[in-house]
């Protein structure tokens, strides 16, 4: 029972941490860690090789 509670707390912590990181990334905090300066062009039916 105690083990399950620990797992549940861990899961809740991960969810909250994920949400916080998501918001921080969108705010520009630490975005350099996940992105590169290389331009990104999303694929389109006209030019699908990106």
């Amino acid at each position: 029972m105690a083990r399950r509670s620990r797992i549940d707390r861990l899961i809740l912590s991960l969810l909250v941490a994920g949400a916080v990181v998501f918001v921080l990334l969108l705010a520009g905090v630490g975005s350099g860690l996940l992105t590169r300066p290389t331009p990104y062009h999303p694929p389109s039916p006209a030019s699908t090789t990106k």
Binding site: L15, L33, L34, T35, T38, P45, K50
Partner: protein, 191 residues
């Protein structure tokens, strides 16, 4: 005085419905906030780190596919827990596996959604597929937020969780179908 006169069950029902409405409002706020952010934010046009993939798009497509696969597992374990699949409510590990897979799916979607919003923004003039992808992408996180609040609340209406879970799953499938599935069908299976 009114609360004392009202039957206890009716009061609890009204409270739980009020809390459900509040959580749905929070979900709607998340949905709108992400959409507005994607609309007003100037897209950076930068690539995402690719890890061991060759391109940003392949990384995103495979992460999205992993998230949908985990969501499918979530759906099956949810059916098992609710006694709709097989006999009884399943072994004791099923609820933990359900929560862990859902958490992992959420964490996997973060870099994908972040890149969509940060580098590309909300695009409503790039065709129906891109529009649906953007709308359902924002809706997915709103529905997920509402679902997580409902699942951690007591005395919610019995129908709320299955409907919200199904909504989250359906939204993710639409997001995946309008991006990763489209990419794989157009480009083939690339890494």
């Amino acid at each position: 005085m009114e609360r004392a006169e009202a039957p206890g069950g009716a009061t609890r029902t009204a409270r739980s419905r009020g809390r459900l409405a509040l959580w749905l409002a929070v979900g709607a706020l998340v949905f709108l906030s992400l959409g507005l952010y994607g609309n007003v934010h100037d897209p950076t046009g930068r690539s995402l780190v690719t890890l061991f993939f060759t391109q940003t798009i392949t990384l995103k497509a495979w992460l999205a596919t992993a998230a949908v696969t985990l969501a499918l597992f979530q759906g099956l374990t949810a059916l098992r827990m609710f006694g709709k699949l097989g006999r009884g409510r399943g072994p004791g590990w099923v609820p933990t596996a359900h929560r862990l897979s859902g958490t992992t799916a959420f964490l996997i979607t973060i870099p994908v959604a972040y890149h969509c919003l940060w580098a590309l923004g909300f695009q409503y003039r790039s065709g129906l597929r891109v529009l649906l992808h953007g709308v359902f992408g924002c809706f997915f996180f709103g529905a997920l937020a509402a679902k997580m609040l409902v699942v951690n609340s007591r005395r919610m209406p019995a129908w709320a969780l299955p409907i919200l879970g199904g909504t989250v799953f359906s939204a993710l499938v639409v997001v995946w179908a309008t991006s990763a599935l489209w990419f794989f069908r157009t480009e083939g299976l690339k890494f």
